[in-house]
């Protein structure tokens, strides 16, 4: 029993190390997400339709940028939504495209605060 436990622990450590290695290789082989390509993917995949060209949101969809929600949240929502927004499968929107889009959203600078805009006061 003890031996088995030791083997299990060893296996777990080994597996984690292996996964870490593989994951580093995947990262090394996958090009870094690109904001420029993300902007293109954002338009081609119709995100702009409800969220606007800079993710500002509107009556048809909520704000996405600046300060997008964490990628885990975005990824889960985009793949699985059952609300007004239709889900995007990997066949429609690849992992890379989604990563690029997220990078694009993160690159969008903050606009002026409404208090600094005379027309909104």
């Amino acid at each position: 029993m003890r031996n088995n436990t030791m083997i299990s622990k060893f296996n777990a450590v080994f597996l984690l190390a292996l996964l870490g290695c593989l994951s580093s290789q995947v990262i090394a082989q996958t090009p870094a997400p690109s904001a420029d390509q993300g902007k293109q993917a954002y338009v081609i995949n119709g995100c702009w339709g409800c969220h606007g060209f800079v993710g500002q949101g509107g009556i048809a969809g909520p704000k996405l940028a600046p300060d997008p929600k964490p990628i885990e949240y975005i990824d889960a929502f985009v793949r699985n939504t059952r609300g007004t927004m239709p889900p995007y499968s990997e066949k429609i929107l690849s992992k890379k495209d989604l990563a690029d889009i997220y990078t694009y959203l993160k690159s969008i600078p903050k606009g002026p605060d409404y208090k600094s805009i005379p027309l909104l006061n």
Binding site: V43, I44, G46, W48, G49, C50, G52, F53, V54, Q56, G57, G58, I59, A60, G61, K63, R82, G83, T84, P86, P87, Y88, S89, K91, I92, G111, P112, D113, Y114, I117, L119, L120, N121
Partner: protein, 676 residues
């Protein structure tokens, strides 16, 4: 002289061809038709000659003659010759009398596209009537003409008349009539028609005639008629006006026989036809018992919410709604069918406020079901989507709605069925004074503190909502294409010192105008099309601007690209008739609602949507080539500028455009915008 029969022969059987020289002032049916019947009678005379040969053996004994005799010289001439003069100046034309009837109702304008089936009335309006009240306005599409009447009424509360060609013209007009029907707006539609198949001109006029032209719009008009005499016309026209102007308002149709317009006025029961006096009908008021029951529910509620759609028919309606809301310190959700409630009032609440309500009173709601339920288009339930309640199960519902008195079957504008606890088939604005009084009487003293506290809480909520709205409006403020919030607020800044009226806001700019503009007056927001028939915005804006021109107001419109292209000829009408209007385009270069629909459907089906080089799915983009709306407007006599893509250039362009409009002319800015 013998009264002629309708077949064209006189009662003593003398040939009608001898009668076409009758004094048509006393024998009106024979003017044009007398001649035509003469043509027929000559043929009939030839036939009867042949028949008499068979009946008379003595004649039959004479040498055989051909079975078909050649026509006499007179008969041949009647069949092939040029018609004689139809008898000009033979008494007062029927269409002149029709003008007198129209004038009795003080109808100021008549937007219309000209057509032969009402040529007689057209001529009478511009020559006999002096082209005033009504003044004929040249339109390039019947849909534009009706929609102009639609916008005009909402701006000033007076209906307009339009004339349509019997079949094809009314077909063009029909979508705009449906919009007016759904938006509860009176428009008087007269369709020319040549009823008498035996006498109407052949060819095109017969293609443009029908047994019953009103049939095609009967499902979405309040009433229609086909007068067969001038007396009938005067009664029906005044009746039509009266019905259209009784809440719930709505369009009406009159089919007008071309021959009736042409024929001279003749005596009716020995007298000249009379014009009935128009006396408005009182609008329907809610039953007193139901009003008391509603008041009891409202005063005992912890969180009463008022929802208004087309509640304020007139400026007085806004004041009444404020009274009711303040009395109860109840939140008001304004769905925007009209300017029901000041946007600067602390009791104004967003649609989400409905979730906390324990009593909801809906005033002239076009869709009570969708007010208290949510529908999500998420491909569930075999593609039907999902429904969910937006309110607590025990929430009591009250409705005051005049449309309950005027529901038809075919078109589904009555929306999904909603169970309501107290339902009054009555006009909301007319019922509000008695409801206010009943609420005042039912308010117990021990509730007054709680009601006051409710108001205080709402003041804070209103301020928080205000900040959230402005924070959202600031997002993308400096981007290109221009954000819809920036478009809307730059426009407001340009017109705020005028007595402005936002006469239309089409294409969906995220509702920024009603969220950000300090609308307080009834005329500052006119609602939307009603039936969501695209193509309403441009002509309704021109119609409303016409009313506002006469009232000294400044008209501004947020004009979407797709809407304008349905019938852009209305731009010419505005220039032609010097109707000042500032049209600021929300040019997002697509039928954007459909952009989103197609994307959604493709995703549901796990397919990559086909863009074919455009931004939106195939069939939804308006680009490649981009339409130069400013050039289009210029070509029709407007001052115009564009395309404006940089938000920094918008303010100066608006300043120029406002100056043009103030000088009495229409101006258009072609602005490239974000999608929503």
């Amino acid at each position: 002289m013998t009264e002629p029969t309708h077949s064209g022969q006189s009662a003593d059987n003398s040939p009608a061809e001898n009668n076409h020289t009758l004094d048509i002032q006393t024998q009106p049916r024979l003017a044009r038709r007398g001649f035509l019947s003469g043509v027929l009678a000559s043929g009939a005379a030839a036939a009867s000659t042949a028949a008499s040969l068979v009946a008379n053996p003595a004649q039959a004994a004479t040498p055989a003659k051909p079975s078909v005799l050649p026509p006499s010289a007179k008969g041949a001439l009647a069949e092939t010759g040029v018609p004689p003069d139809l008898g000009h100046g033979a008494g007062m034309p029927g269409s002149d009398f029709m003008v007198d009837v129209i004038k009795s109702l003080d109808i100021k304008y008549l937007p219309s596209n000209c057509a032969s089936s009402f040529r007689a009335l057209h001529e009478s309006i511009i020559d006999y009537g002096g082209n005033t009240k009504p003044e004929f306005l040249t339109c390039m599409h019947e849909e534009s003409a009706v929609a102009m009447g639609h916008g005009y009424f909402k701006a000033c509360g007076k209906p307009l008349l339009t004339l349509c060609h019997g079949t094809v013209g009314l077909q063009h007009a029909s979508m705009a009539i449906y919009n007016a029907w759904c938006d509860r707006v009176p428009v008087i539609v007269v369709g020319g028609n040549d009823l008498d198949a035996a006498y109407r001109p052949p060819g095109v006029p017969t293609f443009h005639a029908a047994q019953d032209i009103n049939a095609m719009v009967r499902d979405y008009t309040k009433w229609d008629d086909t007068p067969v005499s001038l007396q009938h016309f005067s009664q029906s026209f005044v009746r039509a006006y009266k019905i259209a102007m009784t809440p719930p308002y709505g369009p009406v149709a009159i089919s007008l026989d071309a021959a009736l317009q042409m024929a001279p006025v003749h005596l009716h029961e020995g007298k000249m036809p009379y014009i009935p006096k128009y006396i408005p009908t009182s609008p329907p008021q809610g039953d007193s018992g139901a009003v008391k029951e509603a008041a009891k529910l409202l005063v005992n509620a912890t969180n009463p919410v008022i929802v208004a759609d087309r509640a304020a028919r007139t400026p007085a309606g806004v004041g009444l709604l404020v009274q009711l809301a303040e009395l109860l310190q109840a939140k008001v959700i304004d769905q925007g069918g009209r300017m029901n409630f000041p946007k600067t009032h602390y009791l104004l609440a967003p649609a989400t406020a409905i979730a906390i309500a324990d009593v909801i009173i809906g005033l002239e709601l076009s869709d009570f079901w969708a007010t208290v339920n949510a529908y999500t288009d998420n491909n569930s339930n075999d593609g039907h989507g999902t429904n969910a309640s937006r309110i607590k199960p025990e929430t009591k519902l009250i409705s005051i709605n005049s449309v309950d008195l005027n529901t038809k079957s075919n078109y589904q504008d009555f929306q999904r069925f909603q169970v309501v606890d107290v339902q009054m088939a009555a006009d909301a604005q007319t019922t509000l004074p008695s409801l206010i009084e009943a609420v005042r009487s039912a308010l117990p003293n021990d509730k007054k503190d709680a009601i006051a506290k409710r108001g205080e809480l709402q003041r804070k909520t209103y301020e928080e909502d205000r900040i959230r709205t402005r924070t959202a409006a600031a997002l993308g403020w400096n981007v290109s294409p221009i954000s819809t919030a920036r478009l809307v607020m730059e426009t407001y800044a340009a017109v705020k010192n005028e007595d402005w009226a936002l006469v239309a806001s089409e294409g969906n700019v995220s509702n920024w105008p009603v969220r950000l503009w300090p609308m307080e007056k009834h005329h500052q927001w006119l609602g939307r099309s009603g039936g969501y028939g695209v193509g309403y915005g441009a002509p309704a804006s021109v119609g409303a601007a016409l009313a506002n021109r006469d009232l000294g107001r400044f008209s501004v419109s947020i004009q979407s690209d797709g809407d304008l292209m349905f019938a852009p000829g209305v731009l010419w009408t505005a220039a032609k008739h010097k109707i000042p209007l500032l049209s600021v385009m929300h040019n997002n270069r697509g039928y954007h609602q459909e952009v989103m629909h197609l994307q959604r459907l493709a995703n549901f089906r796990n397919r990559k949507v086909n863009l074919d080089g455009d931004m939106g799915p195939v069939g939804t983009s308006i680009e490649n080539p981009d339409i130069q709306y400013h050039e289009l407007a210029k070509s029709m006599g407007w001052w115009a500028k564009g395309p404006i893509k940089d938000p920094a250039q918008l303010a100066s362009a608006l300043k120029e455009a406002v100056a043009v409009v103030k000088s009495g002319h229409p101006a258009l800015l072609n602005v490239w915008t974000q999608p929503r």
